[in-house]
Amino acid sequence: MGPATVYAKNPDYVQREVAGECILVPIRRSLTDSNSIYVLNETGAVLWRRIDGARSLQDITAAFLDEYDVTAERLTQDFETLLTDLLSIQAIDEVSVADGPAD
């Protein structure tokens, strides 16, 4: 998980907007241990929406800092936690540098 890392969404997770909340629904439930949905906080929702298989973590962070009143240190910490969570449920994957950015 470095600044140059690029992440792509796993298409087996569907993003839904329900009552003002951004949630992730796993559509291949064998990926998870239970019938869970994942509720993203505001920062998590912004990060999730910007993960596109092309932009690096650094690009996403820089754009976020331009728009929101948050310190780089705090944002980096929050993003690391969120990315760890998203990786642990296989909602995102690292895009291999050798492969180049995903389409």
């Binding site: 569907v14 003002g20 949630i23 869970s36 949905i37 994942y38 509720v39 969120l82």
Partner: protein, 303 residues
């Protein structure tokens, strides 16, 4: 990111859960079934078409609906069932399926294992072919139902088995419960409620147990007795029909719930948002307590 099974913060009215009777078609003719009177070609012709159902699913997803229960009739009796099911799953709905199980073979079970539902609930009417098929009027339905249970369990799919206590299977209810218990991880639900069929006939009540028979049945099993006691002493949960839940019938009519079809909104003619947010609140329900209904009129309005 928080892992949850339910959303906790919802407006007082929000279209979270849909029960959708996608067809009245069925390969069985269960004696107490309230939709079987519409299991005829002249009614089937008027059921929603594939593209209509897909469009409505899209509208519901956009409005925020999260859970869909597909029921019937027998949902798998629709030739397009898996088109509808897959669309629902890929839209991110949590899908529960109510089925008689008899149309689930290995291929269907494999399909569900690939795109897992939230839950599959199968009606189990007896533990002998004689009793089971006196209820379903379908030769071979007992064997096919149990085979389906096996296929689903082999694939560790989330299964619930349920029975309706009837005069025809009263003597096997406890055996059904013991069979389900022997499966280890499968919850069992026992229902006693029957309702008039959709054409208004009281024919299903011919098979209802008397109050005394229900009491005796509950006394024969500790868990049934405890559940009955719990229901009698617990404060009733507020009815969420029309608030967080709604019902759609096979013809695209939006209603408060499957038990109150006195008023409908035609989703073929208008949008889901219009129906849920503007029209459904004007529907009446004689059972809904006033304190639970800031928008639904709690007045008697049935014919």
């Amino acid at each position: 990111m928080v892992q949850q099974t339910k959303l906790s913060q919802l407006p007082a009215r929000f279209p979270l859960v849909c029960q959708w009777e996608i067809t009245c078609r069925c390969n069985l003719r269960c004696v107490m079934c309230y939709t079987d009177c519409r299991n005829r070609p002249d009614f089937v012709r008027h059921e929603l078409a594939t593209d209509e159902i897909l469009r409505l699913m899209d509208e519901m997803a956009e409005a925020g609906t999260l859970e869909i229960c597909l029921t019937g009739g027998e949902p798998l009796a629709r030739p397009d069932f898996f088109t509808l099911y897959e669309h629902a799953i890929r839209q991110g709905f949590l899908v529960t399926l109510f089925t008689n199980g008899t149309l689930i073979h290995e291929a269907e079970a494999d399909y569900f294992a690939g795109l897992r539902p939230l839950r599959i609930e199968i009606s189990l009417h007896g533990v002998t072919p004689q009793t089971f098929e006196r209820v379903t009027l379908g030769t071979g339905s007992y064997r096919r139902c149990l085979e389906a249970v096996g296929f689903l369990l082999d694939r560790r799919l989330p299964l619930v088995l349920k029975s309706t206590a009837l005069t025809l299977n009263r003597h096997e209810i406890l055996a059904i419960k013991r069979y389900v218990d022997s499966l280890g991880t499968v919850p069992f639900k026992l229902g006693e409620e029957l309702r008039p069929d959709l054409n208004g006939s009281n024919e299903p009540f011919r098979y209802a147990l008397s109050e005394q028979e229900v009491t005796v049945l509950n006394q024969e099993d500790t868990e049934l007795r405890e559940e009955t006691c719990r229901q009698k002493t617990a404060t009733p949960m507020p009815c969420e029909s029309g608030m967080h839940r709604f019902h759609i019938d096979a013809y695209g009519r939006l209603q408060l719930c499957s038990g109150n079809r006195a008023e409908s909104y035609d989703l073929r003619r208008g949008s889901f948002r219009e129906g849920f947010f503007n029209v459904l609140p004007t529907f009446a329900c004689e059972w809904k307590a006033a304190r639970t209904t800031d928008l639904i009129r709690p007045v008697v309005h049935h014919a």
